[in-house]
Symmetry: C2
């Protein structure tokens, strides 16, 4: 990793050249680099938190004078309980994942002696721009190295000190490894970004990690594909058959466990029938946690009638704009889904609201009805759609990716939490024996297009009879009845 | 399909709304629409070829006065032998493919009663802009419908008559199906494109099918992701151990079978050792086919010495620009790869030239050496990399995709020939029982992250011993020795 004063063109060219060397490094060499980064960051924890404290101090000052939002300050804090350890564990988790590169995931016999394979490969050069969240640099570095991609990193000015400290530790750690120096490039001045965004011949993917404004600005000023990690306007749809205890647990988690997160819920849709049954306990629990409730008139009327006086006066009136707002704060907009002729109609109304208002990030339904949940999960066009769990589940670590480069609200390439797989692509390889295109087609040879097995070479398709045979064989061998392990 | 005078905003909104209905139509309904389109286009062949003849006539006139390239005229011709039938067959091939939508391709047990699934879904709304090639409209319509995507289509002015004829046939055919009318929208005036490219809230993907200039213009003027179907600067690297007959067959096919195609070879890299052994016969065959050879000095000197006088005088001198040019015509640039200390060094020099000069579309090596071919296939960063076959193999139909929307030289989402799979994405679904994020992590429950099987439920992993058992069982059953079918 280099802290550089080079021109944007030099940076991009060097990253491109480094990426080609990194792309053909063996798995072990890339894993060894992750081990080195992990050890170095573990040892340097105090030093990094000291640097982070400087950023926090400045941010708090800016927040007090209204120049910075409180949610941004929260994102900046590396000392938050478990955050540093999560960052470290993320590096090891990524190291332990299967190598995503060089995997043949499709194989077709085009004709005798003519085999087509699809083999995974790195994308090339990534440009990652992030605002706060200094831990992102460790996530990105490990994901980039593991997936064989070079990365150019640009941090936000609010996290400058944390960023410098972490990157200098990573930089030193990499010196002892075979990952080329140019594969992680660090740029610090903001004015180079505009130039970098023009270099689509050297940079393959931009990942802006920050608010909608950053993503919008980047998208509008580059021809490089953008993996949009936008904030999330997430919705939960509460059905009247949802047990009160589950509703409280899920909604309180979704709103309050980390309200500055993009996967926090912002709008609660409530069945008219649930306004006086399930909603009141949910509302009380939220108010007790300091959440402001912005209610439409039906929900406000219903809640006012059943809540105690102290709680009722805290209810606010929602405006239309509230249902299109990501609060990223302890605020929840509540909207009523009116009773309809059928429950399906009500679900469709919720789906419609979500498809029109949500940011296609993560939305959930709370209900005991499997058919209605299914209808909801089929109809909502968001990257993650849940049944009976919190929108806060949308996260690479929780999905088992080790860590994530962000949560994509794009409609192509990668949706939802993006881990290693989102940083890979593939190449099509053919091995032939001199066959040519004019051999085939009208009047010529026919294509075989036979799908061949990839990987898992010991996996065989068996009939029911053969499965029984295997069961008996294994039972005999084990001296006891066992199922066929899959 | 509608020929419309609506505003771009109306068009995009209607497509978005139609796409949501199309996305949840069952497989059979989408297949029935393809059957209807196929029948209608079969019946209307004469009518469509008559319209195409009008376009061809105008194009030929423009070509004669130098306003249009001959290669564009070739692309326009629907009457070219087998082209109309290929178009029709492509629709049926697409219909017969497995439904790409609604497939669970990843399933993870996050925790007991908490299951994560990744399920394929349509992208949403596609905007496809194409220059010539009127058959593209049928390809796109069938791929879009099969993959559950709405499509807005804009044809080039050169193919206006063909385009109008085909779209009116498709439009009528769809009336009898359940595919919503708004899912295929046709725009004819060029001035709406600029407006459509601004509507990234309604349009999810732009696919420009045409030359580099079109792709460049689109990329520079939209925040919508662009699936770049650029032309191809394809290279073949000829090693000295390649049998002459194979070299001739492959290179002649790659250059002459359809020189206006993006997968035609434009640069031939030749080992110094092959200049006087393999190259002369290749050069004679190419010259006999009317190909102009633009040679670097080493290859020109070598060829001049061995070719007959008539052939030798036809050799031209290559400039540096020739190695960065897509001729799309019967022209081939020839460059010598000098002898090196090791064959690996020579292969690396070829890889280097290709990574710097090719358009990352399709490149090939001709050699009998497996290790050198492997090195080449690992090192070349192109969407398709071949060993001993023609670059013309890069094609959706040849790859077994039925048909294609184009060949992507992008580094994300989809690379190489793009068929159905490139038009799909996925959503992450979780089924839970009220679990919340704060249940897990430091001090809480541990994630299980257990990979569950998807599909192929009869496939079981077996040991070598069990494999032997199955073999014997099958042999006994068949009354003869058979291999274990996979």
């Amino acid at each position: 990793m280099s802290l550089t004063n080079a021109t944007p063109l030099d940076v991009a060219r060097a990253a491109r050249s480094g990426s080609r060397k990194l792309a053909i490094l063996p798995t072990e060499a890339r894993n060894a680099a992750l081990t080195a980064i992990h050890s170095a960051l573990s040892e340097a924890k105090d030093q990094i938190l000291t640097a982070n404290a400087l950023d926090l101090e400045a941010a708090n000052k800016a927040a007090k004078s209204g120049k910075l939002s409180q949610s941004l300050v929260k994102r900046l804090d590396l000392g938050k309980k478990g955050k540093y350890e999560d960052m470290l564990q993320g590096i090891l988790d990524v190291r332990e994942l299967d190598d995503p590169i060089g995997v043949v995931n499709k194989r077709t016999l085009l004709d005798d002696g003519l085999i087509l394979e699809r083999k995974t490969s790195p994308i090339g050069v990534l440009l990652i721009i992030f605002e706060a969240r200094p831990e992102v640099i460790a996530n990105i570095a490990s994901l980039a190295i593991k997936s064989g991609n070079a990365a150019i990193l640009k941090g936000g000015k609010e996290s400058t000190e944390s960023f410098k400290a972490i990157s200098s530790v990573i930089s030193k750690a990499l010196e002892s490894t075979s990952v080329p120096h140019d594969c992680l490039q660090l740029v610090q001045t903001h004015d180079v970004i505009g130039e970098l965004l023009k270099l689509d011949q050297y940079i393959d993917l931009v990942i802006p990690r920050g608010g909608n404004r950053l993503v919008r600005t980047v998208k509008d000023s580059t021809a490089i594909p953008v993996l949009g990690h936008a904030d999330g306007l997430c919705c939960i749809y509460l059905r009247d058959d949802c047990p009160v205890e589950m509703a409280v647990r899920v909604i309180v988690d979704a709103k309050t466990s980390y309200s500055a997160a993009c996967n926090a819920v912002e709008t609660l849709l409530v069945d008219e029938n649930a306004l006086k049954t399930v909603l009141p306990t949910v509302a009380e629990a939220l108010l007790a946690k300091g959440v402001s409730l912005r209610c439409d008139s039906a929900s406000k009327t219903a809640l006012s009638a059943v809540l105690d006086k102290h709680s009722a006066v805290q209810l606010q009136d929602a405006t239309e704009a509230d249902f299109a707002t990501e609060f990223l704060d302890l605020i929840l907009a509540i909207k009523t889904i009116p009773n309809s002729a059928t429950p399906e109609d009500a679900v469709d109304a919720a789906i419609s609201h979500i498809n029109d208002h949500s940011s296609h990030h993560t939305d959930a339904i709370l209900t005991l009805s499997e058919p209605l949940a299914s209808r909801f999960q089929d109809g909502v066009d968001s990257s993650s759609v849940y049944w009976n769990t919190s929108t806060r589940m949308a996260d690479g670590q929780r999905y088992g990716f080790g860590t994530e480069v962000g949560i994509s609200t794009n409609k192509i390439h990668s949706r939802g939490p993006v881990g290693l797989e989102g940083l890979t692509i593939y190449r099509w390889l053919i091995r032939g024996q001199g066959q040519v295109s004019t051999d085939y087609g009208a009047g010529g040879k026919k294509w075989k297009h036979e799908s061949l097995q990839v990987g898992d070479s010991e996996r065989v398709a068996v009939t029911d009879e053969e499965l029984e045979l295997l069961r008996e064989f294994r039972a005999r061998k084990a001296g006891a009845m066992n199922g066929v392990g899959k």
